[in-house]
């Protein structure tokens, strides 16, 4: 099949939560190589489906492995190019600048702390941040008590907003989100072993013929890129 | 004063400037198409806001632009029969008729009156129908009924009978006359029909190009030889008074009329009733001597009061008949042959049947119904 007009320009499909970090990395790439790059940010699910439908994406960076697995299984990726790029952690945040730190354990009366408020999360069965959060609460045996109080937002940013403006006293978001929002503070960090690893896998698509695809993928793991990602709160994947 | 008006209004290319005071009763607005009749009526109804206006009905000021008084239309209590019907499409005929009653003072519209109006207008079979399914004349009848049944303090009727056949008109006119005679609701009545105007009007206002050309009683306006050009020659005629003496067996009524006994087709009013008759100028024959052996039953002794030549072959002769004025229109040739000149004593001949039932009406009796005999 024919490629779209700008075949040589690199098109990256990336999960929306990467926008600020990846925009900076892309800027660096442009400065260093002088070549163009366009990044389309949307939900991982939408992007994955678009790749299945023949989208002109050269590179896909997903916010969770699930969609990457599906694309790989159906042969839309160059499997050998797939790698786990970044990792993130989830945190319990509270409204206000200086939340009392909490010790996460089955004994914690989280429900009592929430009171008649809400625990803001991303969709617990659909959106990665929500899935990880629910898994962590289950591991910590806290899910049962807080489940009725969970307000699920359609994405993790909306959950953050609920806590930021004080509509919900607590929320579970990525550490990266908590970092930049001054109206919330971290009350507790969920240990990495309480939930499946939070990974941002990346891979070159099967249809890609952009010569820059693999170099850019490599560039994402370069020290310069890494510094940017870390500045935005991401960690390099193990 | 029943209706007092002073209105000026300008449209691009047309200006209205009318002022008159009319006594109680029916004020007929008469004038050619486009002379400003509907505009004036709309001003009275409050549907347009004329540039300047002073409008008062029975002493109540409805609009006084100088004093800043303006009564909104719904407080004017007006029954307006529009030139174009304007029935409510979502209501059936019964609903349209009842509409005005919903807002009238409690008890103002009586069931009996509704039934009478429905019957008079022949709407009984149409009550469940929607306006969209009515014929042109049926719509107009409903519009008349709707206005009559809104317990109005003022009736505005813009060519209400134009879409109706003569038989239907003959049924509605007596009702309007009764309304005029039995109630004190002033009526502003727009019509192109001199017969209607002469029969109904207490006052005739003739409009031309937005200006009043004549205001007066129909007797004055219609019997004025100078009015002939305005009214149309065919409608010239005089109105005379008479008293019913006797109803004869052969269907005629004998009247004590101007200059002698008048015989007319039976008038449905008791003996002794005063009536008014409009006698068309073109129905009157003049004779030097009383003729005999002719079918015309009425031969009145008259004196020629004035003669006025028209532009064509005709002349209008004003006659004095026992103190009342009559008009006759004859040819110049006849006038010459008979030597018609002011002061001449002669005879006016009039066929009984030449007088149309709609030209006879009760002079103002309280309960006598001015129903012309239907023969």
């Amino acid at each position: 099949t024919a490629r779209p007009a700008n075949a040589e320009a690199l098109t990256v499909f990336a999960a929306a939560s990467l926008k600020t970090a990846l925009d900076d990395v892309a800027g660096l790439w442009r400065r260093e190589t002088g070549t163009e790059i366009a990044v389309s940010y949307a939900g991982s699910s939408a992007l994955a489906r678009q790749i299945e439908a023949g989208a002109p994406a050269d590179l896909f960076i997903s916010a969770n492995p699930g969609w990457m697995d599906r694309l790989e299984a159906d042969g839309f990726l160059r499997a050998e190019s797939r790698r786990d790029l970044l990792t993130n952690s989830i945190v319990l945040i509270a409204h206000g600048r200086d939340a009392t730190p909490l010790a996460l354990s089955p004994d914690l009366d989280l429900s009592g702390l929430i009171g008649d408020g809400r625990l803001a999360m991303a969709l617990v069965d659909a959106v990665p941040a929500g899935i990880y959060g629910k898994a962590a609460l289950e591991t910590l045996e806290l899910w049962e008590q807080v489940a009725p109080k969970v307000a699920q937002a359609d994405n993790v940013r909306a959950a953050l907003a609920l806590v930021a403006i004080g509509e919900a006293p607590f929320g579970i978001v990525y550490a990266t989100d908590a970092l930049a929002e001054t109206r919330v503070s971290v009350a507790a960090r969920f240990p990495a072993d309480t939930h499946p690893p939070i990974l941002y896998p990346a891979a070159v698509t099967a249809d890609s013929d952009a010569p820059d695809a693999l170099p850019f993928l490599a560039f994402l793991e370069s020290a310069g890129a890494r510094a940017i990602f870390e500045r935005h709160g991401f960690s390099p994947a193990p | 004063m029943s209706l007092s008006l002073a209105v000026t209004h300008g449209f691009p290319g047309f200006s209205l400037d009318v002022a008159f005071d009319a006594p109680p009763g029916v004020t007929a607005l008469f004038g050619r198409s486009g002379s400003g009749k509907t505009t004036l009526v709309n001003a009275v109804a409050g549907l347009i806001r004329p540039d300047t206006a002073r409008i008062a009905v029975n002493g109540t000021v409805l609009h006084d632009s100088a004093a800043g008084v303006w009564v909104p239309p719904h407080k004017r209590r007006i029954g307006y029969v529009f030139q174009e019907g304007r029935l409510f499409p979502h209501l059936n005929v019964a609903g349209n008729l009842a509409y005005g009653g919903w807002f009238a003072p409690r008890g103002a519209v009586k069931g009996a009156e509704t039934r009478r109006v429905v019957e008079m207008l022949g709407l009984g079979a149409l009550l469940d129908r929607r306006p969209a399914t009515l014929s042109g004349g049926e719509k107009q009848r409903v519009a008349i009924g709707r206005a009559l049944l809104s317990a109005p303090r003022l009736l505005l009727m813009d060519e209400p009978l134009a879409a109706l056949d003569d038989a239907r008109k003959a049924e509605i006119l007596p009702y309007l006359e009764r309304l005029r005679d039995e109630t004190d609701i002033p009526v502003l009545y727009v019509s192109h029909s001199v017969t209607e105007v002469a029969r109904l009007a207490t006052t005739v206002v003739s409009l031309s190009d937005g200006r009043t050309t004549r205001v007066g009683s129909p007797a004055e306006v219609l019997a004025d030889p100078r009015a002939v050009p305005t009214l149309g020659i065919r409608d010239a005629g005089a109105m005379v008074s008479a008293v019913i003496l006797r109803h004869a067996d052969d269907g005629l009524s004998e009247l004590d009329g101007p200059g002698g006994t008048l015989l007319l087709p039976r008038i449905a009013a008791p003996e002794g009733t005063s009536i008014r008759v409009r006698i068309h100028a073109h129905d009157v024959i003049l004779a030097r001597e009383a003729p005999t052996g002719i079918s015309a039953l009425n031969v009145l002794k008259v004196t020629v009061a004035a003669v006025r030549a028209g532009e064509g072959p005709g002349m209008v002769v004003q006659l004095d008949a026992g103190g009342e004025r009559l008009l006759a229109r004859i040819t110049r040739r006849s006038a010459k042959a008979l030597d018609i000149a002011p002061g001449l004593a002669c005879y006016a001949i009039l066929k009984s049947v030449a007088v149309a039932p709609e030209d006879i009406w009760i002079a103002g009796g309280e309960d006598a119904r001015p129903q012309a005999d239907t023969r």
Partner: protein, 231 residues
């Protein structure tokens, strides 16, 4: 296995509840605003007009966010409502109804406004001469004549409310049994690989409900119009 899970049934019921309330409760306001826009002549008319269209122009998320900061418990209006009237909108189905109503409002207003503009003012004048005040003219003449337009507006609003998602979830989140409407449930299914079949099931339900409403309303509108035109 039943066709729908209990949670899904609840979502269906809740969607209906939210949509019906959103439609009915906004109808009087919609009629008033449409009337003001169609007939009124006041300063700020264009601003009102713009405000009404705003939910159409803004991405739903933005509308939802604005609702959140305004009608949330910490928001100026939301706080007032809670303190003075005990009305809480945030995280409640009532809030979902508010969001749906606001998103559907421009559609409703435009339909009703068009209907009002099509009414012959001469009929209203006639009603005025017969003694009806402006309010009564509206109730007895204008309102019946614009009924087809009101129905059309209500149907559009209902359909929009059934499909509304972005503003709703931003404002009231997704709490199963309380604020989880069909569109949210569908959205959730579409986020996970392999959720398409479940989503499709809910889509079919949603379509079936909305279509029934549509067909019924068309029938009613046709009946009303025919009565006005005279069979």
């Amino acid at each position: 296995m039943p066709f729908l899970s209990a949670d899904e049934w609840t979502a269906v019921a809740l969607s209906l509840q939210v949509s019906v309330w959103a439609t009915l409760a906004s109808l009087p306001v919609g009629i008033l605003v449409a009337l003001a826009l169609a007939r009124g002549d006041f300063p700020g008319k264009q601003i009102l007009n713009g405000l009404v269209h705003l939910p159409l122009i803004l991405p739903p998320v933005v509308t939802g966010y604005i609702l959140l900061v305004t009608f949330g418990r910490r928001g100026p209006v939301g706080g007032f409502l809670e303190e003075q009237l005990g009305i809480v909108l945030a995280f409640r189905w009532t809030g979902a109804a508010l969001a749906a109503a606001i998103m559907a409002f421009p559609l409703m207003v435009r339909a009703i406004r068009l209907a009002i503009e099509a009414v012959d003012p001469k009929l209203e004048q006639a009603a005025g001469t017969l003694g009806a005040s402006r309010l009564l003219v509206f109730v007895t003449v204008t309102l019946p004549l614009i009924l087809p337009g009101i129905i059309a507006g209500a149907v559009l609003a209902f359909a929009k409310a059934m499909g509304e998602f972005g503003a709703t979830i931003t404002f009231v989140s997704n709490i199963p049994g309380q604020t989880q409407t069909l569109p949210t449930a569908i959205y959730a299914f579409l986020q996970v690989p392999g959720g398409e079949a479940s989503a499709l099931r809910l889509v079919l339900i949603s379509v079936a409900v909305a279509m029934s409403a549509l067909i019924v309303s068309e029938g009613v509108a046709r009946l009303v119009a025919r009565r006005i035109r005279g069979s």
